[in-house]
Symmetry: C2
Subunit: 196 residues, 2 copies
DNA sequence: CCTACCGATCGGTAGG
DNA sequence: CCTACCGATCGGTAGG
């Protein structure tokens, strides 16, 4: 009866995926039923299958879209001939903006990737490990050039990647997040610390 | 047939809860069935209900045990008459050690609390907000005393609480984590930054 | 502790 | 896009 509204510039599949990301974030992938998803769109559950292959495919679409965005962004950062600090600032800024602009999708990629089926699960972890490894290299270079002090590169990368997720908490809180202030504070904290 | 082995110093309920925490972490709460949990213990699913009330109750037990541990620890920190930096170091250290020593439980409390039923869900969030608020106060005091530079206290707290979760990633990686090295690096990063 | 079982709900398909 | 439906699995209970 009610047709699925294609989101502007998108297919019906895109519209379904977007709704799915919102529900997966709010309730978790396993706790979201296809009937709920259908209802939130205004059709019967069986109608969804004219546009998508399976529930798990929706999760795959979300997770790999996010992973790809981060990879593309890091490609660009690596090519720039700027200081290590600048590169790290840019990486952190990109993470923060991704979380603010694609809240549902990034959250789902961060929290629900475990529900991916093989071979997608392995593929996703491979991409993530690669991303982390490239950040480790940036930090190692920075240490060699004396731009950074001598810290443990792997620990620093995981600390940064975790810290940046604090943005998740701001969506649930104060309505009006000043994203510039968030960025400045987090970047300054992670690079300069809390003293002086 | 096979009796549930009571863990040393614990009831059968404790043994079940511990197994549940491991499965909830590995697969997620919603994706773990009571039949799986029973099988991992070596009994039939129905036998579990002689020791526990419901699946959700297992989650409640895990989440509130963790929340309580953090609250008790913060109580002690607040009472100490030491510098703000020392207090923050102690808080960070406690988080890291909790994640290393009670990996499954802390992970579940961090990732699966959304599956809590009311009124437990509201209660859990209340406790978490209170914990965060008390950390904010510590930081505000530190700024007032010029022990910390003038940063946004709420952002700093969420950054610290998120950063500390990087420890999660170390369980899945290198087998032998040197916990002291982890602690020193993360604390130094969050307090002194990456430079000099 | 087990066997036997219940009602509900799940993802997905057939067929139009 | 819908109706009608399937087999599987779920959390949990009855009764011993």
């Amino acid at each position: 009866m009610a047709k699925i509204l294609a989101s502007k510039n998108g297919t019906k599949k895109d519209a379904i995926t977007q709704k799915a990301a919102g529900l997966f974030r709010k309730k978790g992938f396993a706790s979201t039923s296809m009937r709920e998803l259908a209802e939130s769109i205004g059709v019967e559950a069986s109608s969804l299958y004219n546009h998508i292959g399976s529930k798990n495919e929706l999760l795959q679409t979300v997770c790999f879209k996010v992973a790809n965005d981060f990879t593309v962004s890091l490609d660009a950062v690596e090519k720039k001939e700027v200081s290590t600090i600048s590169k790290l600032q840019e990486v952190i800024r990109f993470h923060i903006e991704m979380m603010l602009n694609n809240h549902n999708e990034v959250y789902v990629a961060n929290h629900e990737w475990k529900q991916l089926r093989e071979p997608f699960l392995s593929n996703f972890l491979l991409q993530r490990n690669s991303y982390e490894g490239r950040l480790v290299e940036i930090i190692k270079t920075g240490i060699k050039k004396k731009e950074l002090k001598s810290i443990h590169p792997n620990i620093a990368v995981l600390t940064i990647l975790s810290a940046v997720r604090s943005v998740e908490f701001w969506q649930r809180k104060k309505n009006n997040i000043n994203s510039k202030e968030l960025e400045i504070n987090i970047i300054d904290h992670l690079i300069n610390g809390l003293i002086k």
